[in-house]
């Protein structure tokens, strides 16, 4: 092992259109956060401090892109960052924000801003990757803390993090959870990308699909499972689209 003097990578956090649940989540790291600080220099972190720096080794982005000024800002951050990582469902998939894409944009502005709608230009909600190159995505709503740490550790060790690509069901089985289908619920775990350690089913809740879908998902089969469990086809599609409307609204059967 080499004993070169360590230059700590400069890390910044930015947020766009989101509930800021993810950042709060991050601050809850506490003990782990202290260990992480050993290895990084947080130069911009809206909720935690006011420092500003010009260039970043890693920029973490939360929230989706939904206004023209967001577009400008993300381009600017991208220019100043060596690596850009989308944090949480809004940033990785447009998140629930992208649900508004299913409605005509004027209607959305009307409901959200009422008569002031013309003061607030809005775009369809988009994941960060729709505008700039994203080096890595940490999914979830809120994002998964263990995954955030894992990715950060990989990056700090000079590695490319491996994206989990098995269904949430796999993690349920590893933990020997009782399936929530056996508690009379329906669950999106079978086609949802794992990595959250099946946290919702572990607490007796169904998975809403907040981490996006696995590669190669059989969406038709999932719809069939949902409808066979008494959910109307319309409602079943809505469930799948809740977090996935940006990527998948075109590909579900009519």
């Amino acid at each position: 092992m080499t004993t070169e003097a360590k230059i700590k990578p400069k890390v910044a956090f930015f947020d766009f259109t989101s509930c800021e649940g993810c950042q709060l989540n991050k601050l809850n790291l506490e003990n782990d956060l202290l260990d992480i600080l050993e290895h990084i220099d947080i130069v911009e972190f809206r909720e935690a401090m006011d420092d500003k720096a010009e260039e970043y080794d890693i920029a973490f982005i939360e929230g989706s892109i939904s206004t023209p000024s967001c577009v400008e800002r993300i381009h600017d951050i991208r220019r100043r960052s060596k690596m850009l990582i989308a944090l949480g469902a809004c940033a990785t998939q447009g998140g629930i924000n992208a649900m508004k894409n299913l409605h005509p944009i004027e209607e959305v502005r009307e409901t959200v801003y009422g008569d002031d709608k013309y003061l607030f230009p809005t775009l369809p909600a988009m994941p960060i990757s729709a505008i700039v190159k994203v080096d890595y995505k940490i999914d979830g709503c809120p994002m998964s803390m263990p995954e955030f740490l894992k990715v950060l550790k990989s990056l700090l060790a000079g590695q490319e993090p491996i994206k989990p690509d098995s269904a949430v069901c796999v993690e349920c089985k590893l933990k020997e959870n009782e399936c929530v289908f056996d508690k009379g619920m329906v669950c999106l775990g079978p086609i949802t990308r794992g990595g959250c350690d099946a946290i919702c089913p572990s607490f007796g809740q169904f998975c809403t699909g907040c981490r996006g879908l696995i590669s190669n998902p059989n969406k038709n089969a999932m719809l069939e499972i949902l409808t066979e469990h008494g959910i109307s086809l319309d409602e079943a599609k809505k469930r799948i689209l809740l977090f996935n409307s940006y990527d998948h609204s075109q590909s579900l059967p009519k």
């Binding site: 060790a157 000079g158 590695q159 490319e160 491996i162």
Partner: protein, 281 residues
């Protein structure tokens, strides 16, 4: 079925040996060559065509073919293409760095049974890596074997590996060496075209020629067709397959093709065996 498990002598399967990198060479933008020494300069004891599991703590393990001949003592060689997480990190290593080594694993080329035969080598792209072990073995035991014919194909001249060996093979009047690239460059004077274009022109002593083929999955179908046209009997064909591997010792299931575990029964297969494996080619 009931096994007296207390009578089974169990083995520690997953502990690597810490080995040292003693030389590194860059072949191309994507491929690097490494010379590796086990503790105490102990021999790896491999067969041409076998592979080792190479690991870096914190990054994981990958199966990599041994590219040197067992006749080389004191160290062994690997040639690694940078494709993903681990291979990228391996490319950053330099002389003096260490890697974990498990193996050698799998079945290699049955060089004893090839004795007295002509050897036809067909290597596509990175497929030349395990074949080089066989080539060097034959060169080092030259009198035991008949003709040595090497067909080597790469996408373009920049992707050719082993520049020193290529020169040697070309010079040697003991080796019939043919090379081609899919796409030439202005400076390229040699053949252009896929590797199968080299096969029809060969003059072979058919029953006496052993053919060893290694290349990307897509290559096998076409090469096998050409070999059939050339009337090379299936019994004389050997090929090496690539599959996802995790354990290398026949446990993890990733490399399985029907009943066969590539890490145990392969990677080198006698073609007649492969014909019955449905998902093999």
């Amino acid at each position: 079925m009931s096994i007296a498990i207390s009578d089974v002598k169990s083995q520690e399967l997953y502990c690597p040996e810490i080995a040292k990198i003693t030389a590194v060479k860059r072949f191309t933008e994507k491929e690097k060559w490494f010379d590796i020494e086990l503790p105490g300069g102990r021999s790896l004891g491999h067969q041409p065509g076998q592979f080792v599991q190479v690991s870096l703590f914190g990054a994981g393990e990958a199966p990599i073919s041994v590219t040197s001949s067992p006749t080389k003592k004191g160290s062994f060689e690997l040639c690694i293409r940078e494709v993903g997480m681990l291979t990228k990190l391996l490319h950053k290593l330099d002389v003096g760095s260490t890697v974990g080594i498990r193996g050698p694993y799998g079945k290699g080329f049955d060089v004893k049974s090839f004795k007295g035969k002509d050897i036809l080598i067909i290597g596509g792209g990175i497929g030349i890596v395990p074949l080089r072990s066989l080539i060097n073995y034959v060169i080092d035991n030259r009198k035991d074997y008949g003709r040595l014919i090497i067909l080597y194909g790469a996408k373009n001249p920049d992707e050719l590996l082993y520049p020193d060996d290529l020169k040697l093979w070309k010079k040697s009047n003991d080796i019939e060496y043919h090379i081609t690239v899919d796409q030439g460059t202005p400076e390229w004077k040699g053949n252009t075209g896929v590797i199968t274009t080299l096969i029809p022109g060969l003059d072979l002593d058919l029953p006496n020629t052993i053919t060893a083929v290694v290349g990307p999955p897509i290559m096998y179908k076409f090469v096998l067709m050409s070999l059939k046209t050339k009337r090379i009997p299936d019994e004389n064909i050997y090929l090496s397959l690539e599959r996802r591997m995790k354990c290398g010792v026949g446990k993890c299931g990733h490399c399985q093709i029907n009943h066969s575990y590539v890490c145990q029964d392969g990677p080198v297969y006698h073609y007649p065996e492969l014909k019955h494996l449905q998902e093999a080619i």
